[in-house]
Assembly symmetry: C2
Homo-oligomer: 211 residues x 2
Amino acid sequence: MTDPFKNISPKNCEKLLYMLEVNRLTFPKNKLILNNIREKNIIGIVMSGVIQIIKIDYNGNRTIIEELAENGVFGTNFSPLLNIEYDILTKEETDIYILDYEEVISFQTDKEYYHQFIKNLLEIINEKFIEKNQRIEILTKKTIRNKLLEYFRIESGKYGSRVIYLPFNFTDLADYLAIDRCAMSRELKYLKEEGFIEVKGKKITLLYDKY
Amino acid sequence: MTDPFKNISPKNCEKLLYMLEVNRLTFPKNKLILNNIREKNIIGIVMSGVIQIIKIDYNGNRTIIEELAENGVFGTNFSPLLNIEYDILTKEETDIYILDYEEVISFQTDKEYYHQFIKNLLEIINEKFIEKNQRIEILTKKTIRNKLLEYFRIESGKYGSRVIYLPFNFTDLADYLAIDRCAMSRELKYLKEEGFIEVKGKKITLLYDKY
DNA sequence: TTTTAATTGTTGCAAATGCAACAATTAAAT
DNA sequence: ATTTAATTGTTGCATTTGCAACAATTAAAA
């Protein structure tokens, strides 16, 4: 994922953040945050630590929208935070910079580092967009098996390897694929039995030819 | 959807496009296009006409990724065109401008209209991002009924009205929701019978309180 | 107008899936 | 080391869904 401060020197970085009136915040581990600033559009940047953007619907089903580490960018639009049902959860002690979206987007200046920052944001949201599209590819598959195989195909394609290391646990994977965990577990068993895959913890090896 | 040339005068627009080496193309109705330029990242802008970005998978299932009219922006990253499985279909005679993504993103200039264009692109992709997130919200619902209700909720929210006008036909709606058309038809019947909705052609009226 | 094509509606049935309830295993905390 | 919590695995069963096959309706073309 592109660094939001790519091609901006530390000195210009400071200037930029000052210019855009950055808000620097620190939060402890396992805390729901930002419930207070839902009224306006923001851009948030994770400077250190890890956060999850999650959603809990009226049935109590939890969905992980995304997980962000250092240099991770989020915010209204970038992630749909305006919707009251979304929450941000710190997984570790976390430092966050908050910017005002409208302020950032409508700032008038000829400073090069500002325009570089906008370009970086464009690249970042582009990258996120691709990920969203991939998730949609998966979710539009009609069976659990096809969802799993599509997920494997995408993950395998990232590094061009038949060996996949799951970036989250099986419970969270089921959430990501929007399927019942138990049903997924059953389907994984079938895929193992039929010789399609090999599973060792979070390491999955694909034993079939790419389709 | 934001105009990609917002806040850029027609004169500067011409300069910008010349500078970025635009490629102007015209296509007749109902034509699969752009199969030729999959090798590099592009930004496409629909100047007139209508196109659909579609996907046909190995099972023959067609998915409409998005439909774009005048000022619609698409391209690698914006829409996952590098993937060989995607196609662009003109629904009318269509004029398209093609730009080179890397060229656009890495161009070096202090011209204001260029930076305005980048900002516009950022806004556009932001808007698309929101739409993708909404679709994911729908697709993560586990039953056809909940998918329909979530879709209604989002559409209703757009104009704050209980009356929805479907932007596409029922066949395409089923594609969008990634469900079987017949099963959707059945579920819509139940929703009508239970007094939740009223359907007249593409006009759907919600008869229940927002949840 | 007549014919043809596209869209929408209907329904039986087999297959897939969510759910529930619980066991087994692994990780974390004390 | 022991206890507690979290994650993973398993399975019967009711429900939901996709699929197929076809009828009805609407739109487009000849």
